[in-house]
Symmetry: D2
Amino acid sequence: MERLRLGMVGGGQGAFIGGVHRIAARIDGQWDLVAGALSSDAGRAAASAAELGIAADRSYADFQQMAEAEAARADGIHAVAIVTPNHMHAAPAVAFLRAGIHVICDKPLAATSEQASEIAQAVRESGKQFILTHNYTAYPLIRQAQAMVAAGELGEIRVVQVEYAQDWLTEEAHNKQADWRTDPARSGAGGCVGDIGTHAFNLASFVTGLEATSLAADLEAFVPGRKVDDNVHVMLRFKGGAKGMLWASQVAVGNENALRLRVHGTRGGLDWSQENPNQMSFTRFGKPKQILTRGGAGANDTGLRTTRIPPGHPEGYLEGFATLYSEAAHLIRHADFGTPLPEGVHAPTIEDGLDGMRFIAACIASSKADAAWTSLAR
Amino acid sequence: MERLRLGMVGGGQGAFIGGVHRIAARIDGQWDLVAGALSSDAGRAAASAAELGIAADRSYADFQQMAEAEAARADGIHAVAIVTPNHMHAAPAVAFLRAGIHVICDKPLAATSEQASEIAQAVRESGKQFILTHNYTAYPLIRQAQAMVAAGELGEIRVVQVEYAQDWLTEEAHNKQADWRTDPARSGAGGCVGDIGTHAFNLASFVTGLEATSLAADLEAFVPGRKVDDNVHVMLRFKGGAKGMLWASQVAVGNENALRLRVHGTRGGLDWSQENPNQMSFTRFGKPKQILTRGGAGANDTGLRTTRIPPGHPEGYLEGFATLYSEAAHLIRHADFGTPLPEGVHAPTIEDGLDGMRFIAACIASSKADAAWTSLAR
Amino acid sequence: MERLRLGMVGGGQGAFIGGVHRIAARIDGQWDLVAGALSSDAGRAAASAAELGIAADRSYADFQQMAEAEAARADGIHAVAIVTPNHMHAAPAVAFLRAGIHVICDKPLAATSEQASEIAQAVRESGKQFILTHNYTAYPLIRQAQAMVAAGELGEIRVVQVEYAQDWLTEEAHNKQADWRTDPARSGAGGCVGDIGTHAFNLASFVTGLEATSLAADLEAFVPGRKVDDNVHVMLRFKGGAKGMLWASQVAVGNENALRLRVHGTRGGLDWSQENPNQMSFTRFGKPKQILTRGGAGANDTGLRTTRIPPGHPEGYLEGFATLYSEAAHLIRHADFGTPLPEGVHAPTIEDGLDGMRFIAACIASSKADAAWTSLAR
Amino acid sequence: MERLRLGMVGGGQGAFIGGVHRIAARIDGQWDLVAGALSSDAGRAAASAAELGIAADRSYADFQQMAEAEAARADGIHAVAIVTPNHMHAAPAVAFLRAGIHVICDKPLAATSEQASEIAQAVRESGKQFILTHNYTAYPLIRQAQAMVAAGELGEIRVVQVEYAQDWLTEEAHNKQADWRTDPARSGAGGCVGDIGTHAFNLASFVTGLEATSLAADLEAFVPGRKVDDNVHVMLRFKGGAKGMLWASQVAVGNENALRLRVHGTRGGLDWSQENPNQMSFTRFGKPKQILTRGGAGANDTGLRTTRIPPGHPEGYLEGFATLYSEAAHLIRHADFGTPLPEGVHAPTIEDGLDGMRFIAACIASSKADAAWTSLAR
């Protein structure tokens, strides 16, 4: 099967997440990166493209030009990956969608709800695939957890505890990653809540299948002078009566990237941590706790589907991310070539993106209203 | 040094916490149990006393009679341990205090704030020692953590995450322990919030030394028909600007007695879990995480003071509890005999008890008001 | 039920294990310490006795005098605890046994095989109880593990991996504990192999129920000038074909008291570590690993019998040790008063002591013969 | 920079390790797979090639033909990956080396020492690069550990404990992976000792930099009818006086792929486990244990060099394997194009392969001689 052709907007030299997308796209051999508008700085764009083996004539000075040129080529890209800061998602996303090119977009969806709506409208109008890289939902054990909950193995869900703790913004920081994330003009009004809070919220929503209906949030910017929140405390209520807590922090000293999800139902409980993603504990009420491993004894088909290597051979962050690129390939081959869609293909959509924007907005509104309950109604 | 004489109210056959108090009292050889009103059932009281080697003439049918008789004896008890259900703390506590006998009382302080006030008044008027067995504060590493925070090793505290998860009340349960804890007439209006929420709140307050000023709580009784809460979600605000979350649950399948405290400051972070209490992680910002062990490398004097055996030889719940009995012995020897008080002696007081009652009341009030911020002002 | 009366030889001020024995004897309320020859230094013996509330007339200058005097008293001790260095086990053990007093003796049994034989002969001739404090066999999960193996839950045992790593003798050390343990005149010819290697060997033997038939050992004294081994490598062969490895070290930097046992059979595997003794992993072949907890779901009667408090409330080293004192009380009440022996009572015996001495001797002989296979035949 | 061209021998449909090599080759974008003799079955070879996007004219029926044809092409492969069972390493390795093509070869080096010598001779005569995929040495924390030991951070090494436990061969198994590994004609005389024992030995040798001089081994085939060992017990002696133990097992129920290395020196100790490879504990004698994370606080340049993404974002088995492909690319670009070799490039060589063969042979010889000490002299 021929590889799909990928373009990229953003991700030039010095970027973090662009490199992750490129590795993720390579892992399963479904994609070739052939075009890019890798930087708004023309020199850096060209140098970055050269380093990556992108032909000079497909290294573009801006995304608009790229969308048009690639749409016009017989060998144009099938999809573009947008890996720019939040405020620069909407314009390229809309441009490529209108040019008939599928979009793989980093999260959160956008810096503002207006931008988010523009993207959503373009998705609807174009009918093109739009994949939001909430990569944590693609870990095999998370897929397995989602299927276990859906199959009723935990009974009716009561309590959802999700947390995402980091410490890299404990002090005032100045570097490429920190700068835009703490600048409301580029990150949006949410800081930590947008950067990692949305991951936590998305993960909890995905695994439980529950719709959060309202939240009470207490956001704080602990570092003096910081313009966006760096610690997020949220209480959640879900349709059907489940309740939850969400904690996201970028000032929790002692944490690198500690995303953890716990789900407790009437019949069972799950506990998974991203930093050691190849195991998950599962307890049926009244029985000994089980340690489920990726691909090991007790793995279900949903988990196995996204597993590459045997249990005990750890897969990590990049493999999870790669699964989204493979899912994207499935979806796009199906859309463009009618290739049958394998059972179980899943990737976060524009709806997940809009949910994330609503989550950010509700957190900020609630926090401003002294943690008043705020609706998340779609 | 002669042993102190201890009496006990409650703790007859079939009880849980009474047995714990007795082992705790024995461990360091500071106490002899010599009198008791072990059960409101006369037969059970006598049988229980006989089993425990209490002389028949010091096994009393009721606590009032016991308080009077013991106060009148030359060899009367120095202190009484009250290990009855919550609603039965106040009456005996007041009786013994008025009889001039020191009191060691199980937590929470009482079932109602009125009862709590009566005890507090009796403590003030009697001038006797009153020790509340918030036993988790007596773990050596918790003592060490408290001293580390106080010494500024974590910098200024920003975030406090405390949780206490159990699953034994996941379903409707009927047994001696469950019955009174889910009966508002005996437990007070709080269920989970009083039984274990107060432990979590007390632990966080003790270690951080911070005063919680207000909270927003969302309490739930998940089990159909249950009259008290079994899951507790709380957001906390502390004087000075720190913020926290507290989760207590008795329906979190997969948890036995999972009390965990995390404290994050400007310079460092701590993480301790009760189920493996002999280690604690400590991270100075920008440095590798350290695993501190009870009595091991990095132990401070405060932690070492309450340590009995070398690192790697685990101490547990009973030793922590026993430390409170040793602290009580120090305090009572000092009060009664003028024995010098060693540096560092600490035991939870009536003030901790009142704080716990305010915590319960505020949680209930906040939850009834849809999680409105509610003051904890003393 | 009246408490039994205990005497102690050794354990004066500054000792470690004597204090452990005393706490262990107190925990379950079965013993009163009433007599002692606590030190060979008369002043220290008297001062130590006074501190412990031992009447002056029952603080003896030497064990011989104590054995005679206590045997002659109507209220003489039921048993004596011998907590001296290894070379001082045999003489008091023989004296008390001959005086008709039961003996609880620290491990290893003796410093030499001659001494061991003398004790064994005295045990046989006296018919008295002799309990060797291989305390690690008394942890509830170890009792549970033994019963699981015996019940065939692991199938036929194939591989036994046991290790006991410490680092406190990494450098030349001079203190009361280190001095006698590194002096062959007091510890016997084995250093690490006797002090902790015997614990590891005893634990593996107890849990598996297998008889080790031969071993190949490579002992080393890594610290310059040390006269006894501080690192022990052993390969083991068991009757029936199982094989094992044993590692004991007192120079393994990063280890406090890391005793760990793994047992693998045709149907299942177990893994337990002493530093967190309240959990054990158990895997049935082809099934998810289970985390068994002390007293929790999956506990068997054998484990529950020695459990004091609910799961999640950690018991530790002292409780395990205390169980041996409770078992001793059962055995002695049965022997002396005909009290029925509860099902499941177990304590290490003189035979375990002799096995340990054979293990030490075989390790030393094998190591001298360049790790030649050496018989452990009884 | 242009990608290097890779060929593959073995790795057709149904293979495990071939797929791993292909992902590993893709991850860092240094290689394109363009040719293959993927199976000895012509139909499967062609189908496999088609699936992988290999042009039909570069899918070969046999490796000899492939070596010749590729050597003759202007756009021939730069290197070949040999991913066949052990007995099929030598013939293709020799063929490609003689054809002037670099070789990346799976481990162990060969099924027999004769085959190993043939490869070694071909390497010497050809002057071509030969990389043996002992992939575990490429984990960033293992690289870091090696550098820490070399820098003296552990002092003089005394004790090396390495183990590699699996359970997938606990029962008689029949599948593509099990069949050849338990067939001496294909695996060589060693079973478990060759398949995973060599990994453990290589890892210990790499990290410590110590040369093992002799060993005493006790090998066992526990599963009835099995023709090769499935459990390996080894005592090791190293030049300079360090001692070690190695345990490898494929019948240790409860283990998936549990490779663990512990190194203890006069000043410090390390502990690393493959199943959670993103952390390692490190203890300086007398100081608290530190948890070092891949790329986190305390990371050294050697570890960082092979790290792709920030700490807390787990890298796994495939990334470690990929590092060997990147190292191979560096070595080959240097050899073929004179591209400067970055500092710190490392990949296992033919010498590691020969050491592994000596290890296997010595284990088998020692075990046959009842675990007699057997030299590993090069």
